[in-house]
Structure formats: C-alpha cells, structure tokens
C-alpha cells in the first residue's frame, strides 16, 4: 500500500540534497580569511549604505491587493457554477441559472465601478477632500 509513496520520498531526498550539497561544499571550500568587516557589508553599487533596510511601504500596495483578493474570490465562486452549468442546461433551466450568476457578477461590478470612480485604483489618489482655499488651484478633481 505504501509503495506509491516511494517517488515522494525520492523527491524529498533530492530536494533536500540539492539544497544542502552546495551549502556544505561552499562551507568546506571557501576561503576563511576574507570574511571580515568590510566584506560583510550590504552591497549598494559602491556607495556606503546608510539607514535601515526596512523601508515604509506605500499603502497603495495594500489597496491594490485588497481589490485583487475580493475579485479573486469572486472567481472562486464562478468555478463550481461553471462545473454544474451543463446539467442545468440539460434540464432546460440554463437561462435562469445564467441570470442568477449574472446578478451576482453585476453586484460585484457595481463595487468595482465604485472603486474605479472614487480613484482608489490610481497609484496616486488625485481627489482631495477639501480642495478649497489654497489648494483650489492644484487642478485636481474636487469632490
């Protein structure tokens, strides 16, 4: 019964081995005398690195990822529907089933339109909330 798992064992052994072997060989073969201060600094094309390596992420990354995940899980709902659609056509209810799924997609399209028109898909959001006073000449959309 367990004979089917032999390829898995071989695969795992190969994966671990092909990872471990270069590391071990590198540790045995590499020179020891140049692993000191200047050699261990991070490389920045010849410049001296300064500051922390942790930079602040633009929050737009999150907004784009959020919109992506919502529409991705919408597609997740489409897959089972597509799998059983043929049997509904055979029963003569194809149009009704299509209409139900169309309603679902339309609701999500309204959400998509909302995100688009409100400017959340732009990389730099160009709609100022209080664009009056000294910001009124910026030439951006006032909402």
């Amino acid at each position: 019964m367990y004979n089917d798992y032999i390829p898995v064992v071989v695969f795992t052994a190969l994966a671990i081995g092909l990872l471990a072997a270069p590391l071990v060989i590198q540790h045995l073969v590499s020179p020891r005398h140049n692993k000191r201060n200047d050699k261990l600094m991070s490389y920045e094309c010849g410049e001296v690195p300064e500051g922390s390596a942790w930079v602040k992420f633009n929050v737009r990354f999150y907004i784009i990822a959020l919109v992506f995940i919502i529409f991705d899980v919408e597609v997740v709902f489409l897959f089972p529907w597509a799998a059983v659609y043929q049997s509904f056509i055979a029963q003569g209810q194809g149009l009704l089933v299509l209409f139900e799924m169309l309603m679902f997609v339309i609701i999500l399209t309204v959400g998509f339109a909302y995100v688009w028109v409100k400017g959340d898909l732009d990389w730099v959001k160009m709609q100022l909330k209080y664009a009056h006073g000294r910001y009124s000449k910026l030439g951006v959309d006032k909402k």
Partner: protein
C-alpha cells in the same frame, strides 16, 4: 489513512493554536492571522466530515468555499481598519489603543 480521528485532531489543534494566537499576541496583524487559523480549522472540519460521512450531497465542500470567501472579505476589512488605526496612533500594538477604559 482511513480513520477520521487524525483529521479531526488536526483541525482541533489548529483551532487551539488560532485561539492562542488571538488571545496572546499584541500585534493586531498577528491576531488576524490567528482568526484565519480558526476559520481554516473549521474548513478542514467541513471537508473531513464530507469525505468520511458517506453523505449524498457535497454540502461540506460548498460550505468551505463560502467560508474561504468570507474569511478573505473579513480579513480585508480588518486590515483596512488596522491601517486606519495606524494612521492615527502610529503603531499596530493593540495595547496602545487605550482611549476607552472601564
């Protein structure tokens, strides 16, 4: 494996680890990770019951898909709230959100 117990034990262990993460962690994003663990433990439960129960319908799998979608939506909203909190407080440490007490 033809027994149901290992799968249910796996889901219970994941569930407990999720509860531990929600109760113990200070970082709001880590608490969200714990909530995702809880929801995924429930998913394993549903799929396991459908595989071992000799049921006529595939309700467990369909339920799992709904829960996956809902977990994604909930995590999205929770992360948006955390970002909003970060803009005002400056940290995601939930101990620092202490304006209201008692």
């Amino acid at each position: 494996m033809d027994y149901i117990q290992p799968y249910l034990m796996l889901s219970s262990i994941l569930f407990s680890m999720g509860i531990y993460a929600v109760i113990t962690r200070k970082n709001a994003v880590a608490i969200l990770m714990g909530i995702e663990l809880i929801l995924n433990a429930c998913n394993i439960n549903f799929v396991t019951f459908n595989r071992f129960g000799n049921f006529a319908t595939l309700d467990g799998h369909v339920f799992t898909m709904f829960v996956i979608v809902l977990a994604a939506a909930e995590a999205a909203v929770a992360l948006a709230i955390i970002i909003n909190l970060f803009k005002n407080i400056g940290t995601v440490d939930v101990d620092q959100a202490k304006e209201m007490k008692g």
